[in-house]
């Protein structure tokens, strides 16, 4: 990032982990950073912080999180009168690009948006996982990175925490393998994904074994129901698009899913007919109603699995 003529930065976007990392990077360059809570800001406080120099150091960093500024003109006025050596960082989960303040920062300072990886940017996410592990002095195999991404999704803070945990677990070893990821992932997470695989393959034995393991670990039954529903819904969408679109990336864009997951579902789509998928969704709805009206949840969950794998009879 090049140094702008006014040391005013706006970091915004959904990916708060990357924003925090950026702030951490800035913090390391200053001896006494000052943090202001944007919700309790007053112009007087701001004026004292931005326009008064530091007593002890030449350079000063002021970080303002989630600033709520009504009088934008006054704010711009303060930023124009920044004391020498003061750097200001605004951090926010969103930014209104139509406001005067945003436009002023773009013109005189720097605004950076931190976006989450889109579902079709999974390759970039895998690279990020690899880089992160390397940054901590370890390597991670491609399969392990993919498994980690499958378990944690695209939440970078969560992924970073998991990488740190696995590195602690492996100790002196140099490379993270799939077995390490599996060892530390919760039984629920790994079994839930394995259950989805078994359901796609209509493998009733595996479905019931995994279902049993999930129930024993007191996994939230409604989360599982949600996961199953989204899988069958995606398969229904893929099936409905048959003849019009077959390329996973294109399907992923159309239905808003991950190409990796679309590819996984597409591989088994031939096993299902359109009416069967509709029937499965109806069975999931009926099961959800039973769970909510007081029937034995675990037993009805297993009955549902048996209904969803008719090939196993």
């Amino acid at each position: 990032m090049s140094r702008s003529k006014n040391p005013v930065f706006l970091f915004f976007g959904e990916e708060d982990f990357l924003i925090d990392e950026k702030i951490k990077e800035f913090k390391s360059r200053f001896s006494a950073p000052e943090f202001l809570d944007g919700e309790k800001l007053s112009l007087t406080t701001l004026s004292d912080s931005l326009c008064g120099g530091s007593l002890f150091t030449a350079d000063k960093l002021v970080v303002i999180k989630e600033a709520k500024i009504d009088d934008q003109a006054a704010m711009i006025g303060l930023l124009q009168k920044l004391s020498d050596g003061t750097t200001v960082v605004f951090a926010s989960s969103s930014a209104d690009k139509r406001t005067k303040l945003y436009k002023w920062i773009v013109e005189h300072g720097e605004a950076v948006e931190f976006k989450t990886f889109a579902p079709w940017e999974q390759d970039k996410l895998l690279n990020w996982i690899g880089d992160r592990a390397r940054g901590k002095g370890k390597k991670i195999s491609q399969a392990a990175a993919r498994l980690l991404q499958e378990i944690c999704g695209g939440n970078l803070r969560l992924l970073d925490g998991e990488i740190e945990k696995i590195i602690t677990y492996i100790g002196e070893r140099a490379e993270i393998g799939s077995a390490d990821v599996l060892a530390l992932a919760s039984a629920g997470e790994t079994s839930a994904f394995a259950l989805m695989d078994a359901l796609r393959e209509k493998d009733i034995r595996r479905s019931l074994t995994l279902g049993q393991a999930l129930l024993r670990n007191k996994e939230d039954i409604f989360s599982l129901l949600g996961l199953m529903t989204s899988q069958y819904r995606l398969m229904l969408q893929i099936k409905s698009l048959a003849g019009r679109e077959s390329e996973p990336n294109a399907i992923a864009r159309l239905v808003g899913g991950s190409p990796y997951y679309v590819r996984k579902c597409s591989a088994h789509i031939g096993r299902f007919t359109l009416p069967e998928l509709k029937k499965h969704l109806a069975a999931l709805l009926a099961a959800g109603l039973k769970f909510k009206t007081g029937e034995n949840q675990s037993v009805n969950f297993e009955l549902l699995l048996a209904d969803l794998c008719p090939a196993g009879r």
């Binding site: 982990f17 943090f35 939440n155 803070r157 969560l158 925490g161 740190e164 945990k165 590195i167 602690t168 677990y169 100790g171 060892a183 530390l184 992932a185 919760s186 039984a187 629920g188 009733i204 034995r205 595996r206 019931l208 074994t209 049993q212 393991a213 024993r216 670990n217 007191k218 939230d220 989360s223 009206t293 007081g294 029937e295 034995n296 037993v299 009805n300 297993e302 009955l303 048996a306 209904d307 196993g312 009879r313």
Partner: protein
């Protein structure tokens, strides 16, 4: 010294004592050795899997005089104070009773101060998912910028209720449910030290009933010792748990396989006589048939049962089809729910079983068109119909879908009511029982037959309104009257229905006796 319960006496005091959590132990030991401690941990998992014990061991490991060490001495002042709960640096908070923003604000104020005796201040927040949203928001601020000398351990049994903003700022360690063998091994160790005699079958049942929670298993062992002394037998465990024993469950299985209604009714009576609650029997039956389902599809290994038990289950599973097991589980699960709010739980279970076996029998006897299901289980001399009326002869007539003419006299329907009831009994036992509590009161302007129920009988009204039962009744009316008559159910205060079944009739029907 006062009595200390077994689970407190045998609580793990160091990482090596922890049962069944090897991955977590290795991670925490490595974190201490390589100084890669997280500022906040989230311990999640089912109850009784070692979350709080691990948190305390971690606190000892960090604050032990020899520490930080993966092997705390357990002897120094700090270790001893943490063990007895007197350490000022280890603060345990029960989030279930301190769940508001004020408690968390107070915590935030105190977090700033350095530890007094050890190196770290360790905050153990148990059942963290119980905090309010505002309290979570306040906690988030602390977790974002925690002081270097503070470590948070958040423990929860319901991980999904912890906001992602909190969970993603913690290192999450998932405590797995303990395996059957691990629990059995620990129980054996305790029994050996305490000089308890417990047979293998009893040990197996204790471990199984704990469902992966070590604390539950040890507590149950403690109760068993109070109940039956130092010698514990299988029957003691069955009595204490109030569960149906193996024989009862396999007996039900056999009766269901052969369609022996009399045997089923006898088993229900026996269960009740032995002091078991009908809900518990239904629950155990559901689990028994669910075990059979697993055996049927080859996933029996996941059940963690003994080889002998599995063998017996396997033999019984062979007597059912996959679909039949599913139907039985479904019906029993529904009955288990109905029993929660029906005043006669026994009747619900009996009717459910009769309906289940009835379906099977009606398939078997369809060709011979013999009598109804219930009559097959009851001696001929005791066969009765409600009102002690003779068995109605069902006249099959040509079906006609046109609604009944408004001038169809209600008296005509009333005259044939017992035949309609009889026909209904063949179609749906549940529907029959509910219909029996109502009576035809009018044919309304729309040509619908209005069936009235007394106040307080809305359960039967709603049961009869279920699509399946409603269709069965309309079909029964069509069979008897030769006309399609739509029905409507109402609660009518004017109805005073004389009890049509005397106590003696019921006693005769079930081959029992009137007690008072």
């Amino acid at each position: 010294m006062s009595y200390v319960s077994l689970y407190r006496k045998y609580r793990s005091q160091n990482f090596d004592d922890l049962v069944g959590q090897t991955v977590i132990v290795q991670t925490l030991k490595n974190a201490i050795k390589s100084n890669r401690l997280a500022h906040a941990y989230l311990f999640s998992g089912p109850r009784g899997t070692g979350k709080t014990s691990t948190a305390r061991i971690l606190a000892k490991a960090l604050n032990c005089k020899d520490g930080p060490t993966p092997n705390p001495c357990g002897q120094c002042d700090n270790c001893e104070k943490i063990r007895t709960g007197h350490s000022v640096d280890v603060i345990e908070i029960d989030a279930a009773s301190n769940r508001g923003i004020d408690e968390i604000r107070e915590l935030r104020e105190r977090v700033r101060y350095a530890p007094m005796e050890g190196r770290y201040k360790v905050y153990i927040i148990d059942e963290v998912h119980m905090l309010t949203q505002e309290a979570f928001n306040a906690l988030l601020k602390t977790l974002e910028e925690p002081p270097a000398h503070t470590i948070f351990v958040l423990a929860t049994t319901e991980n999904q209720k912890v906001p992602m903003t909190i969970a993603s700022r913690c290192q999450r360690l998932d405590f797995a449910r303990l395996k059957l063998d691990e629990i059995k091994e620990q129980l054996k160790k305790i029994s050996k030290v305490e000089k308890f005699e417990i047979d293998e079958k009893a040990l197996d049942l204790v471990a199984r009933s704990a469902e992966g929670a070590m604390r539950d298993a040890i507590s149950l062992l403690d109760q068993l010792v109070s109940f039956s002394g130092h010698k514990i037998a299988y029957d003691d465990v069955v009595t204490l748990l109030g569960t149906a024993d193996e024989e009862l469950l396999f007996g039900f299985g056999e009766a269901a396989a052969t369609g022996d209604i009399a045997a089923v009714l006898e088993l229900i009576r026996k269960g009740l006589e032995e002091g078991r609650s009908m809900q518990q029997v239904a629950r155990d039956l559901v689990l028994h048939f669910r075990n059979l389902l697993h055996l049927k599809v080859g996933s029996g290994e996941s059940l963690e049962l003994t080889a002998d038990y599995l063998k017996r289950l396997e033999a019984q599973a062979g007597k059912f089809t996959f679909e039949r097991i599913k139907a039985i589980i479904s019906a029993l699960s529904r009955a288990e729910l109905d029993m929660k709010w029906h005043p006669h739980a026994r009747l619900v279970l009996e009717v459910a079983m009769m309906e289940l076996l009835g379906e099977r029998q009606s398939v078997a006897v369809a060709s011979s068109e013999t009598s109804t299901v219930v009559r097959q289980a009851v001696p001929a001399a005791k066969r009765i119909t409600p009102n002690d009326s003779p068995v109605a002869v069902v006249q099959r007539t040509t079906h006609d879908n046109s609604p009944v003419a408004p001038d169809q006299p209600l008296t005509h329907i009333k005259e044939h009511w017992s035949a309609i009831l009889e026909s209904m009994r063949k179609k749906s036992i549940y529907g029959y029982v509910s219909l029996h509590e109502g009576e035809p009161i009018e044919l309304n302007g729309g040509g619908k037959l209005v069936i009235g129920f007394r106040k307080g009988y809305s359960f039967h009204k709603e049961r009869l309104e279920e699509t399946k039962n409603k269709q069965a009744l309309e079909e029964s009316i069509r069979e008897v009257l030769g006309k399609h008559v739509p029905i409507e159910c109402v609660i009518s205060e004017g109805i005073v229905k004389a009890p049509s079944l005397s106590a003696k009739t019921v006693a005769d029907f079930f081959d029992g006796r009137v007690v008072s």
